[in-house]
Symmetry: C2
Subunit: 227 residues, 2 copies
Amino acid sequence: MFAAVAIQASKLRLRRGQTVDFSIDDRETGFLIRSGALVLDLTLPGTPRQVVDLLLPGDVLRSSFVPADANARLTAVCATEVWRLRWSVLKALAGDDPTLADFLETSIAAQMARQALHIATIGRLTGEQRVATVLTDLALRSGIPATAGEVGFNMPFSRRDIADYLGLNPDTLSRIISGLRSQGILARSERRRTVVRDVRALAALTPAAPSLTAITDSNRRPAVEAA
Amino acid sequence: MFAAVAIQASKLRLRRGQTVDFSIDDRETGFLIRSGALVLDLTLPGTPRQVVDLLLPGDVLRSSFVPADANARLTAVCATEVWRLRWSVLKALAGDDPTLADFLETSIAAQMARQALHIATIGRLTGEQRVATVLTDLALRSGIPATAGEVGFNMPFSRRDIADYLGLNPDTLSRIISGLRSQGILARSERRRTVVRDVRALAALTPAAPSLTAITDSNRRPAVEAA
DNA sequence: CGTGACCTTGACATTTCTCAATAATGGTGG
DNA sequence: CCACCATTATTGAGAAATGTCAAGGTCACG
């Protein structure tokens, strides 16, 4: 699908740790995440970095959504494929293809909504609630249900990435994850992978669970229709 | 300007405390803030509310940017005029009027960037830095420079609104503001108004000052061209 | 004037951060 | 294939920031 985009876009194949420039010769740029994962982060002078968004396949990023004059970066956290093209080109293609236009609109709206939820998460939830929120989000977006109540997903993000996403520090995050393990909610799994033993119990820890489900569904539906 | 929009939109005149529904019969809706101010808030079950955005004249809100299935509200904090219309109608008008299209794109991009900065503010700044950030933001967006180094602006938002925006509680916010007053940075001003005695000192307290300036400029330029 | 909403301030409780030590992991070169 | 090293993760103890609760003050409006 999106054959026209595939022709126009330059396909970036990134390795873990590689960063991407936000614009091609100062023009507004669009990015489509095809596989892998990236973090979008922002570092205000004199403060620890803040991860603004975790980008997964299907997400769309537009360079003007990133604050100018801020120390922002887009970094792959594992082998990742990103399609990059001028925003004006993408817009023109969307003009000819309502399916593409709809995909872009829906994806951006879902991210905006997720952003609002992220603000509420950072601003109002306790550490444990924040961690439950991001794990639930990842489980919904990239999880594959295994046996009853159990979900496993790749966890390309480091502790530091997740801590910076949640506005916690890595030590605190580590303590919270240990706590979830001893409660039997998380399994002691291999590196770069997370296994949720008890999805319901995890969801019960975060007040954002219903909203996350709603956003994921609304984003997935049109994407499926488009396929 | 935007005469076509003026014809199509329903003009809502809101009093302080009035809330607005996000959609007209479940269709996606656009809101243009013409005067006054509103807060967009989100309350996750069992947690204090979080103000996601402070909306001022020139801002644009789209209903799909608000998480579904969340307890979200849009509330006027003073006498406010909002133009409301179906998003599909607004999009059609933008199709005929590049100036309008540009205004919408720029305004939404500025808000998205501001949102990213808001995340960094809540996630990584201390209480005092957060307060300095929001005051700087408001001074840039709605302030009128008085004498040298001094800026005054209306402050329609209550302590609670600002505290909920910053993820602090009102007591802590009050203490911080008292501190800024005793440092001579803020004046002891009348209710619903804030006077910044020393803009440079205030800006020096927030690591986000350069980014806020950049966003405000980039948002203002096209709006002026459009006028 | 009286009432209710909003704001300020103090004392104390709680959470999270900081710093430091230790353990686990994964990649690299012999 | 194994040993080594750099990075990442875990955990404890104490420090600092923010939250909670309660009392009192101020302001706008009827």
